[in-house]
Symmetry: C2
Subunit: 335 residues, 2 copies
């Protein structure tokens, strides 16, 4: 069958017009943030994204500079009753106990294994640091990665009896996708361990390892006896990506100032200040945990994820504060 | 005008077929690596890329895992007669001298300003480190960035009398573009300063700041008197991204093992070993500087970019060695 080029082109143009119309209608009908209740917070998010992405907008930001940073614990997933990485470390002690008979008498391992939490917590942070050192060091990065993957695929949250990865916030997943669909590059900037997050963030959040910034221990390059090099994790802190460490981590790993930042605790304050201090339009957001029924309610007095100074500064400077009870129609995907 | 949907679809299909055919012809005619001479090296590069990208290939690698890392000095741009960052530091001493009257008598600044290189070099590395500290610290990251941008826009190379950014290797620019067109994510992993490279790598190499790994000094978050936070660069080394530091830097910043790595000196050996030790198809390449006429010729005896052990290991393990004289039809774009 032979056809005139002009006819082909007209057919093509007509087909493309129909396609564009269909896309337009579909977009108008599909709310990209369905788990966010309508209101000032949702509008603040979408209005900001429209301002920085609309051609000809005075606040337009070129796509490569659309850097968005998110804290992880308490911002993208739950952090109660303890940071999930602490739960991982405790479970690792049980898993490793057969190889460490001395732990039967050695503190803090004895009390942890005996579930004698009174003795364990009596030594406070020292106990937790000893557990972190014993469970996060003295192995290769590859072996640690596998330990994280094994744990995250099976361990359950004590209250919800679900995988920890089921406890990511559905509204934040939607927000990450919405930002990426609008040309943003999304990063995690967390006080949590970088090697603890990277094995699963791509699958769960769509955030690849190279866009995860976190705390780290020193690693050492060793040439194995078989001629295969390994990286050994040492029991020595390299970088704490929390508080004023967050802008330092952003500068070191990303090398650009974000225009969009979301946190939930005082550990995120400097990241929000650093984001706010750039030129042009910026968005600073805080998740305020206000829903004890669907999740947890805590702020100024909490030992995990304390939100006190940052809450005051957010109010004073007009940053966006998400009230989970009011602003999120759904907290978890499985509700 | 009303038209049958079936006709529109047939017209669309015919137009797409024509388009695909045109693309195919255009690709076959357009060599993506025109500055590379035909031969074993060029074939090794293209054969590798085809192996890991062809659907159904037993060596297929999904796009997110196509991580390619490149050393910078001597691999992507020239590094003779001194690392360009050293030239920057020396020029900064002249620029800053009016603010430092004490440098008229204080070594190593006195001898450097007087162009008394005999005295300057008599103190060896100590002199260079003092200059780096004086020119790379005690200022904000924003101010340092501006100093780099000012210098790179104007400073000229002593032999070629051209901007330093004119001394990037045209074949490597083509290789970066070719890899990206095939779904690779390209990173710099350099012993050079991360804050020295990031201001210009996106424009020159198409590599954004967040894909640049390098050596760094400690930065400190300070709240300015005006309530605007700054990051101050301190005269304290944080990380040396050279030698066995390169796999450490790759693990810390990228969090995935590369499948493609290119270097040019012994400082790249561990990066190449680390890349080689992964499972599946890998490409390890070395640039061997063999062309004194068009660029420079140096290897085992050079104090800048020494290539000795890595040259032996590359030969023993069958890594790809680029002989500039033989393999590059053009070294610089302006030739």
């Amino acid at each position: 069958m032979r056809r005139q080029p002009a006819l082909i082109l007209r057919g093509l143009a007509a087909a493309l017009s129909l396609l564009l119309l269909a896309c337009h209608v579909a977009l108008a009908q599909n709310d990209p943030l369905p788990s966010w209740n309508d209101g000032a917070v949702k509008t603040a998010v979408t209005a900001f994204v429209e301002r920085v992405t609309a051609d000809g907008s005075s606040d337009f930001v070129p796509a490569p500079e659309r850097i968005a940073v998110f804290d992880n614990d308490g911002t993208l997933w739950c952090e109660q009753p303890v940071y999930f990485q602490v739960a991982f470390a405790f479970d690792r002690v049980s898993a490793l106990a057969p190889q460490h008979p001395e732990w039967k008498t050695e503190e803090p391992f004895r009390s942890l294994l005996a579930k004698d939490m009174k003795t364990f917590t009596a030594n406070g942070e020292k106990s937790v640091l000893a557990v972190i050192a014993a469970t996060h060091a003295g192995m290769t990065t590859d072996d640690f990665r596998q330990a994280v993957l094994d744990w995250i695929a099976t361990a359950k949250h004590p209250r919800f009896n679900r995988l920890y990865t089921d406890l990511v916030y559905q509204p934040m997943l939607e927000l990450l996708g919405y930002l990426r669909a609008n040309g943003f590059k999304t990063f995690i900037v967390s006080g949590g361990g970088i090697e603890f997050m990277r094995p699963w963030t791509e699958k769960i959040y769509g955030i690849p390892p190279e866009q995860v910034v976190g705390s780290s221990a020193v690693t050492q390059f060793d040439m194995g006896a078989d001629g295969k090099p390994v990286l050994m994790k040492l029991a020595k802190t390299e970088f704490v990506d929390d508080g004023s460490g967050k802008p330092v981590g952003i500068n070191r790993f990303i090398g650009r100032r974000p225009i969009f930042a979301f946190g939930n605790s005082d550990g995120d304050l400097q990241m929000l200040q650093w984001t706010a201090a750039g030129a042009g339009a910026r968005f600073m957001g805080l998740v305020h945990h206000t829903d004890a029924e669907r999740e947890y309610a805590y702020d100024r007095q909490s030992s995990v994820g304390r939100l006190d100074k940052a809450l005051d500064e957010a109010a004073a400077r007009g940053w966006t504060i998400v009230d989970i009870k009011r602003d999120w129609g759904r907290v978890f995907a499985w509700e």
